[in-house]
Symmetry: C2
Subunit: 253 residues, 2 copies
DNA sequence: AAGTGGTCTAGACCACCGG
DNA sequence: CGGTGGTCTAGACCACTTC
C-alpha cells in the first residue's frame, strides 16, 4: 500500500475547517446553541484565530451561524422565506403589504436613482423609508423614491411629518393605474444606516431588490429594498400559486 | 477653533479605505484598468496588507473589482442583467432558453433535494448539469433534478452519454403539462465544482436560485442554479413587459 | 471587570500566471 | 523566472455585552 497520499493538492485549511464545522453543526448542535469562543475553537483545531474566523465567516454567510460582538456565536435557525412580488400588480402601500412606513423626506436622489426615474437633474423626490419585519426580526429596509409628479395631490398640502407623511405619499400613489413592474436582485453590502436598522455591522452582505413601478409609460416609483442575506431566502411565487414549503433546506451539495 | 475632532468614534480603517477607493474608481479609473498591486496599495495608504485586502474584498463583493491570482486586480464592468423567469410557464430546455446542457447522470440526490421532490429515500433521479453563458463569460451553473417518474419515456432506453443524454431528459420533460413554478433566491458560497465552472475560487459568493416545477400536483423537477454574485444582477420581468434599462446602476446610497 | 467578537499589524509562504 | 493574489500565523488592541 505504501504511503497513502491524503491531499495531493491540499485544500485550504479554512475550507476544510468549514466542512468539519458544518458537519458538526448538523450532528452535534441544536438551533440557538452557543459555540465555544473563537480563541478556544482555534486552539482546539490547532489554527490561528484568523483562519478559524475565515471559516466562521463563510458559515455565517451561508446562514448557518450568527455572531454578535460581546455575546458569542450561535447556531442560526434555517433561513426564513420572505415573499417578494407575491402581490403582483400592486403599488407599495397597498392594503396588506408587508412593509411598515417609517418616515419620509423630500430630497434630491442619488445619481443611480435619477437615471432610473429619468427625472431631471436637481429634481427632488419624495423618499419614503419603510421597514419589514418577519418572525419578530427586522429583515429588510427600503427606500422608496417617488417623484413629485407621481403624487400631484401632495403638492399644495402642508406636509405632516414622519410616518404620517409617508402614509400620505403611499395613499396618493394608489390613485395611479399601475401598468407593470420589473425587479432585479443583486448582492450588496449594507450601508451604515441600513446596517443599524437590520441589526448588523456595516458592510454586512445584503440582497438588494430593486423594483421599478411603471405607470403611463414612465417609472412612477422606484423601490430599493435591502434584505439581510444571512437570514433571508427571497421567494417568488411566479404562478401556479403553490406554496414553497421545503423544510430546513440546506444548499444542495 | 481649537482641535477639530475628525472622528469622535472612528470608523474602521477598512471601511474608510473602501469609501476612498470607491470614489477613486468612479473618478480616476476606467473599466478594465488594472490597479496597483496589493502591497503597493497598502503601503500607499499606510495600512497592513490584510486591512487593504478587507477593503478590496468588499469592493469585489459589490461587483466593483475583479481579482485574479497571478494576474492582478482590475476594475470590473457593470454587472450584467441576467433574465430569470422571463420565459414563464416553460420547462427547462424549452426552445430558446439560455442554458446549455453539459451532461447527465443518474444518482441519489442530496437530502435537501429529496425533501423538495418528495421522492422516496434512496430513489435515484436524473441529474442534468447545464451551464449558462452571457457576454462570453460563464455566469451560472445548474443542477437539474428530474425524478425518473417525470420522464417515463426514458426508462427502457439505452441511455446515450453526456450532453446527448441531458438533451434526451429535457426533451422528455416537455411532454408533461406544466402547472406552475415557484422560485427562491438566496446567498450561498460556491461548491468546489461550481467554482471551477464559474472561473472563481471555492467559497466565492453566489446567488442560488431554486426553482420548483410543478405538474400534476407534484414537483416534477427541481432546478438549483448558482449565479456569480459578483458579476450578475438577476432580473425578473414580472409583468408589463418593459425592459429594465438603467445604465451603470450603482447601489443607491 | 471579564469575556466576547471585530479590527489591525508585520511578516511568511504558497499557488498561479505571464513572459 | 518574477510578480500577482491567496493563505496562514501570533500577537495586540478595541468595542461591545453581560454580570
Amino acid at each position: 500500500m505504501g504511503t497513502t497520499q491524503l491531499e495531493p493538492v491540499p485544500e485550504p485549511k479554512y475550507w476544510h475547517l468549514k466542512t468539519v464545522l458544518s458537519e458538526a453543526l448538523d450532528s452535534e448542535f441544536t438551533v440557538g446553541e452557543i459555540l465555544p469562543n473563537e480563541r478556544d475553537l482555534a486552539a482546539r483545531f490547532g489554527v490561528a484565530r484568523a483562519t478559524l474566523r475565515q471559516a466562521l465567516e463563510q458559515l455565517e454567510l451561508e446562514g448557518r451561524l450568527q455572531r454578535r460582538r460581546g455575546v458569542g456565536t450561535t447556531v442560526a435557525p434555517p433561513r426564513v422565506g420572505v415573499a417578494v412580488g407575491t402581490e403582483q400588480e400592486a403599488w407599495p402601500g397597498a392594503p396588506g403589504d408587508a412593509w411598515q412606513p417609517v418616515d419620509c423626506a423630500e430630497a434630491e436622489p442619488p445619481a443611480a436613482v435619477v437615471d432610473a426615474l429619468r427625472t431631471g437633474p436637481g429634481e427632488a423626490v419624495h423618499i419614503v423609508r419603510r421597514s419589514r419585519v418577519s418572525h419578530g426580526q427586522p429583515v429588510a429596509a427600503e427606500l422608496l423614491y417617488v417623484p413629485a409628479s407621481s403624487v400631484p395631490g401632495l403638492s399644495g398640502i402642508d406636509a405632516p411629518s414622519g410616518a404620517a407623511r409617508a402614509r400620505a405619499v403611499l395613499r396618493e400613489l394608489q390613485h395611479l393605474e399601475l401598468d407593470g413592474q420589473d425587479r432585479a436582485v443583486e448582492l450588496g453590502s449594507a450601508r451604515a444606516e441600513d446596517a443599524r436598522e437590520l441589526d448588523r455591522l456595516p458592510g454586512a452582505p445584503v440582497l438588494v431588490v430593486t423594483t421599478r413601478f411603471v405607470a403611463r409609460g414612465r417609472t412612477a416609483a422606484l423601490s430599493v429594498a435591502t434584505y439581510r442575506a444571512d437570514t433571508c431566502r427571497l421567494t417568488f411565487a411566479d404562478s401556479g400559486g403553490l406554496e414553497m414549503d421545503h423544510g430546513p433546506e440546506r444548499q444542495a451539495s
